[in-house]
Symmetry: C2
Subunit: 345 residues, 2 copies
Amino acid sequence: MDPFALVQDEVSIVSERLCQSIVSNVPALEQAAEYFFRPGVRGKRLRPTLLLLMSSALSDQQPAPELLLPDHRPPHERPQEQRRRQQRIAEIAELIHVASLLHDDVLDDAETRRGISSLNAQSGNKLAILAGDFLLARASVTLASLQNTEIVELLSRVLEHLVAGEVMQMSAAPEQLTSMAYYLDKTFYKTASLMANSSRAVAILGEQQPEVSDLAWQYGRHLGLAFQIVDDLLDILGSSKQLGKPALNDMRAGLATAPVLLAAEEQPGLISLIRRKFKGGSDVQYALEMVQASNGIQRAKELAAQHAQLAAQQIEALPASSSPHALAAREALINITHRVLVRSK
Amino acid sequence: MDPFALVQDEVSIVSERLCQSIVSNVPALEQAAEYFFRPGVRGKRLRPTLLLLMSSALSDQQPAPELLLPDHRPPHERPQEQRRRQQRIAEIAELIHVASLLHDDVLDDAETRRGISSLNAQSGNKLAILAGDFLLARASVTLASLQNTEIVELLSRVLEHLVAGEVMQMSAAPEQLTSMAYYLDKTFYKTASLMANSSRAVAILGEQQPEVSDLAWQYGRHLGLAFQIVDDLLDILGSSKQLGKPALNDMRAGLATAPVLLAAEEQPGLISLIRRKFKGGSDVQYALEMVQASNGIQRAKELAAQHAQLAAQQIEALPASSSPHALAAREALINITHRVLVRSK
């Protein structure tokens, strides 16, 4: 059972609202904001998929058919129905995610994104910064429409975390560069916080008890950590599409990720390379050899698997349900914890 | 009576909270965010001053002494007292304003701001973008603490307007470049929306009737327009400090502001220069001469005066009050409408 198939139609509704919600009376802005919402460039919509599955996993009732039809209300109009409100969390999470991609690409001077030219490369840094700001503003307006200030606070904290994670990465002191704890904190801020806090928001809108909201939060947190560690592994191992050739973008950018940090525990020679951000002539190549000669890769795989397993355990700990609808969604959420481990791009 | 003196102590409390609220566990970020909150670089705190005066103008009661002492609650903790909540609007408005300055300076490649090196010039674009994002995130968290989603929506719209105004400026079509209506729309978005909507927020927190909130909104709108038109005039007339030498930064950046647009109604030769964004060899000098030969400057002064007067009229239309406290604040708000017209820097 493909977990993406289970909520595919509903994800399309959210995508359609995303395209609507960026309609603006300023054409240049609309064009820019739309850039990542075009069909084919949308990415796999992992966050909306997760969040809609979580909505189902916590509900005995299947969404009524009318809730699976497009919702044409403007972003600031308040929806009353629980499921519509949960769909808005999926929409907001994707708006924040895409905004952070736009700003990250400016920060990294990235030239491509999702297989096409990045917005900054195509239209300049200015428009990319402003388009990101615009999506964040739209996220705030939509967030306000939910009329729930606990949720406004949760999602505002995510923004703060995204920034803090990026700055932690930019400004790490030498001893922080080699610290696994620092890496995990940064990774929580940069990747897992959005998944954790938006999952909690979905549970709160589903009127769940605090214990259940905590499980949802932990699911998002552990899945996010597993996801990012695998991402970092792929940068070193290479994706299958690229015939196993590693990209090594992280090391080239001066970043030591989980496999390297774990390797350094066995290969102290790595420490000085990490601290000088792999800036010496053949540092990257030399570091790669030391990583390959260690158990760093194996241990990073195990770490990702642990987090994936912890994510799955949160779902298993949810209150018992006899609803086939909820059970299918739970199975899909567990399935996703396996999928993040075996993905190859 | 100096209107700034009337709420000076309370503005200091807001300033202190601003410094507190940017405390972060990421030192590089704190340093960056703090950049514009240091004493001496704070600017005149126009927005907090306005908003605290508006709070007083709409209240019969002087704030209790304990509300004029610093408030050490974290930004997400909910204050119950009405005046504290209004102080938070002053704080949020300043956070949004400074965030927009940080992003604007990146967009404009500005080298200085408020007499010191700009953050982007000193620490790079990355940190300046992230510091701006961080202040916006802090503004959202503080906003959420007010537990009033109407106000979350008002201030989220301001963000959207700031972006829309900037993009309107960047992407104007040739016929829009010469349109006074387009200029005024853009100016509302870029400058007046924050003043208008935060004034309304203060009135709403003061539990005022919708008619009164509308007056507060119109006050902010007209004051913001007057303020910006005078700013644009000073760029052409020169400030007294600069011995009357015009800066002409706007024209050099390709922008035609109110005096130029009004001059063009008499001097059709200006139109082609505006449309080519003053990019020809001596366009700026030539345009300046045409403006000086027209009534553009006089008419722009009159336009600013009209908006200042309309702002003052909103205050005069407020419900009668016998509170000396409220009356002094109202007088100060009217005084500010005069001051924006005669300022020279």
